[in-house]
């Protein structure tokens, strides 16, 4: 199976090349994807681009839906952990 290496909150992660960023984040101990306006931890809910609970920073771009984004080699992902 082809794999891709990316960084999530500074940790190196290797996942299948067809995985999403959401799935890659779930393989790490990151407790949450984002903090809600009142600071609660939130994670992916709908898995299909509708709820926006999986928003993270990818390569410097804020508020990107992790469940809609395929992983890429060398990608830098930051959650609100």
């Amino acid at each position: 199976m082809n794999t891709v290496n990316l960084s999530i909150n500074g940790h190196a992660v290797t996942v299948p090349a067809t995985a999403s960023v959401a799935a890659a984040i779930a393989t790490t101990p990151a407790a949450c994807f984002r903090r809600s306006v009142n600071g609660q931890p939130r994670a992916a809910l709908c898995g299909m681009g509708v709820c926006f609970e999986c928003r993270v920073r990818i390569d410097g771009n804020p508020h990107v839906r992790a469940c809609m984004t395929p992983v890429g080699e060398g990608m830098q992902v930051h959650t609100d952990d």
């Binding site: 996942v15 299948p16 067809t18 995985a19 999403s20 959401a22 799935a23 890659a24 779930a26 393989t27 407790a31 949450c32 994807f33 809600s36 306006v37 009142n38 609660q40 931890p41 939130r42 994670a43 992916a44 809910l45 709908c46 898995g47 299909m48 681009g49 509708v50 709820c51 926006f52 609970e53 928003r55 771009n61 508020h63 469940c67 809609m68 984004t69 395929p70």
Partner: protein, 435 residues
Amino acid sequence: MTEHYDVLVVGAGPAGLAAAQAAASHGARVGLVDAQARQGGQVWRHDAVHGTPRAASRAINASVGTRVPVTWLARHQVIAAQSQRLCAETPLGAVELSFGRLVIATGARELLLPFPGWTLPGVTGAGGLQALAKQGWPVRGKRVVVAGSGPLLWAAAASLRRHGARVLGIHEQASAAAMRAFALQLWRWPGRVAQALQLRAALHDVAHHCGSFVRRADGDAAVTSVQVTSGGTSMRVDCDLLAVGHGLVPNVALAGMLGCAMDRDGAHPVVQVDELLRTSVANIHAAGESCGIAGLSAARIEGRIAGHMAAGATAAATSLLRQRRHARRFGELLERHFALDPRLYALAEHDTIICRCEDVTLGALDGYTDARTARLATRCGMGACQGRVCGTALAQMGRFPRSDCRLPIFPARLATLADRASPPLPSRDSGDNHP
């Protein structure tokens, strides 16, 4: 720059794939647009571990093999529309697409109802967790409770097991009598019977509870247990994940923005079409779950009808009408037998968050009778999901009717909006926003 297509199809699920193939078979120049990176839509979503389902590969390859091959536009999220033009956001910026005929095949999303603890990480939709598992989300060895309503629970549970999850039980809110009545009607759809038998075999050792639902989820940083109510009794189940969905709701935002008339399916709008899948707006067709929930077969047949019609091949479309009627009847069966128990609408408490984007509680909505006023006063539905989750839930709960259309239909990066050649499109009151 604007790219022009004779026929543009939005949504590359079973309906959109069939539409693109049918239209291209008559020589039309067809563009197939989807926000996802791959074709397949929901039911045919590519699986990072198990690959693409065979039927999906066949449908995808068929559109490449047509007389004029279909142009596939991946990761194009349509965010705005005006008469014969659409604006899509892509990873590389905004793209404008113009069309002679449009086929709307935007599918459906899950109905997610609020209950105490539903915002905890580890609580997902049922189809939601299935989608995430297919994306490579690790579920192996995880204890999963599957709950909510509809045949999607079975499909989700089977997928999760295939990915190594320990499915602790399936909690269907419909009664055992309703489920039996549903099963007795199923013989009219032989394909469905085969699928049901397969799922039953795959789930033979998973407990299936009818008339049962999750009333709350508990945990600190993530869900660690749920309270399940079955008959008159309540019990605690320890788990790592809760996958809960209450059926499907059509995605009608794009059609609403283009001014297409809507019908109602309970609390939710569905795109109004005639038998040949023409919407109320000339040159715009709709197919699949955006016109109401009826499953895979209806989506495929309707895609073909809409594709033929969009290419001007009325005779080819007409020959499929009988098949369509039969497939659509399955939707009526679902609606009858999986009607939601009103107790589900009373699970959220005063301090339960309803709007997850803005952290608005149920209590904060007291005293408001329509979504727009509530939105202005409390920010409920103002966040990134634009009310797709909370607005849909509140309508289902009988709290507020679904509200008006907002632009863009998905939050766009400012750069995308700035890229747009045309001035901002006017906001339209379509009786729905919610995409």
